[in-house]
């Protein structure tokens, strides 16, 4: 009880005496949290959108002729030879016509003059969830193209390609900004605490002489680190949330962005970022005070 009373008094003194550098550290920590969380938020939203895209991902192999049952069996065999797939669906000319008609709904009367076999037959291949990497899909589509009777393979190539590269880029940005967060948070806090220690050298020296335990000397600095990490990350994340609200408000409504259905980071990830930032800042402060207590 008295231990904590004394410790918190010391924290107050430190904050009071070095508040300018404390403020700088606090701003740096919040800014790095903001930058990291910003990219991370975009990243998770991209992944979400990617999932939604790839849920619908299917390769459509257009055929020259309706395959007979024997031929279907052979094709199935060949596709499965390349890799296991989730689903193979044969769509005959007639079925294609039916589908198209249902899609048109009320307007289906435009089809009345068309021959019922004007649409090509096709195979719809749904790859396994685990095989949906960009390169695999590409290889798979080339293989499907070589099937007997195949005319063309479609899966929204351009989309998938662009999306794939963008996600790769974001991964790199997230890793870089994460590193930035780790470096700035740890070093800035270590630096401020070192500054505080320099300013209070006489006092810390005296505390040791009158028999202060190491934990008594260390605790105020650790608390400072924890406070920096906590407030810095909370402010950084709050700023990001404000930004997020603003973007959602201004870009809401139908449009291409709707694919992304912007969502904020789940609470568990917010907690992870906050505790990660606290851990880093305490680490920074611990390393500084350790050096001092050594001798």
């Amino acid at each position: 009880m008295n231990f904590w009373l004394a410790v918190f008094r010391q924290v107050g003194r430190n904050l009071h005496q070095t508040w300018t550098s404390q403020l700088m550290t606090f701003l740096t920590v919040s800014l790095s949290v903001l930058i990291f969380a910003f990219f991370y938020l975009i990243y998770t939203n991209m992944l979400g959108a990617g999932d939604r895209l790839s849920d619908d991902l299917r390769l459509i192999v257009y055929l020259e002729e309706d395959p007979g049952p024997e031929m279907q069996q052979q094709l199935r065999q060949k596709i499965n030879n390349f890799d296991d797939v989730e689903k193979i669906l044969f769509v005959s000319r007639a079925e294609a016509y039916e589908r198209f008609a249902t899609q048109l709904g009320e307007n289906s009367d435009v089809l009345t003059d068309m021959p019922k076999d004007f649409l090509p037959p096709s195979i719809e291949v749904v790859p396994l969830q685990s095989l949906r990497g960009y390169n695999k899909i590409k290889l798979f589509s080339e293989y499907l193209k070589s099937l007997p009777g195949a005319e063309k393979v479609q899966y929204g190539q351009e989309w998938v390609e662009r999306f794939y590269y963008f996600t790769r880029l974001l991964t790199i940005v997230v890793i870089l900004s994460g590193t930035l967060l780790i470096l700035t948070a740890t070093f800035m806090v270590a630096y401020t605490i070192r500054l505080t220690i320099m300013g209070r050298r006489d006092e810390l020296e005296l505390l040791k002489l009158v028999g202060a335990t190491n934990s008594y000397i260390r605790a105020p600095f650790l608390i400072e680190g924890i406070l920096q990490g906590l407030t810095g990350s909370i402010i950084g994340l709050s700023a990001l949330y404000a930004l997020f609200r603003w973007i959602s408000l201004h870009f809401e409504g139908p449009g291409p962005l709707n694919l992304f259905q912007f969502t904020f980071l789940p609470f568990s990830e917010v907690l992870i970022i906050v505790s990660g930032s606290i851990a880093l800042c305490s680490l920074g402060s611990y390393s500084s005070i350790r050096k001092f207590l050594k001798f």
Partner: protein, 234 residues
């Protein structure tokens, strides 16, 4: 704090202790000495004789180049971390250069010694008030120590040394800046601590402190023991 049987009556035990400062200044050589629990012990000698060095060795501010030092039964140079901290809480030191925190008030400076052993804030306040009364410095309670005179600073350093009721009190030149009547107050304070059971070692130039007393007096000369008078105190 537990003590060994045979050291129950010995607070400080030094065996063949030397302290050599780099490159070759021999501050102390081959000092063997034993100070009993509850004793008041005087350390005298010319400037540079090694008095301060001896006190620093006893409170582990300096380490001996050779020899063994035991305080309250503990080999003080083997103690580390919390054990050393807890022993230091039981040793009050009034340094020759005071080591006061110049930007803090008198009360805060005295309180530090008690805060490190987590005394209750109310107890600390009361003790600080009592000490300042005994030293007639009550009106300086909230003064920044940098603004005090040397003599006042010296007494604050002493007050901090005795504040936590330590079992061993080391005092380095306690009266160098004081007039006769203030000196008397200081000695009274130290005597009161001794009667409460503390062992006290005083390094001084001031012969009036020990001349008429019955306490033992050790004279150092060039880092060696020149003489040790027998007192009739335990």
């Amino acid at each position: 704090m537990a003590e060994n049987e045979n050291t129950e009556n010995t607070m400080i035990e030094m065996i063949k202790v030397s302290r050599i400062y780099e490159p070759n200044i021999t501050a102390l050589s081959d000092i063997s000495l034993s100070v009993g629990t509850g004793e008041m012990f005087f350390l005298i000698g010319r400037s540079g004789a090694g008095k301060t060095t001896l006190l620093k060795l006893i409170c582990n501010m300096e380490v001996p180049s050779k020899g063994l030092i035991e305080v309250a039964g503990y080999d003080i140079n083997q103690l580390k971390g919390n054990d050393l901290a807890h022993l230091r809480q039981k040793i009050g030191v009034a340094y020759q250069d005071f080591k006061l925190l110049g930007d803090r008030t008198v009360a805060e400076n005295i309180a530090i010694a008690m805060e490190v052993s987590y005394k209750k804030p109310r107890a600390i306040k009361q003790r600080v008030k009592d000490l300042l009364e005994q030293l007639q410095l009550v009106e300086k309670h909230n003064t920044i120590t940098n603004e005090l005179s040397r003599g006042e600073q010296q007494r604050i350093a002493l007050a901090r040394a005795v504040a936590n009721s330590p079992r061993l009190i080391l005092v380095d030149e306690p009266t160098g800046n004081l007039d006769a009547s203030t000196t008397e107050q200081v000695m009274e304070l130290l005597n009161r601590s001794r009667l409460a059971g503390a062992t006290i070692v005083i390094a001084t130039h001031d012969s009036s402190l020990y001349r008429q007393s019955k306490h033992r007096v050790l004279e150092l000369r060039n880092g060696t023991i020149h003489s040790l008078t027998e007192g009739d105190q335990p």
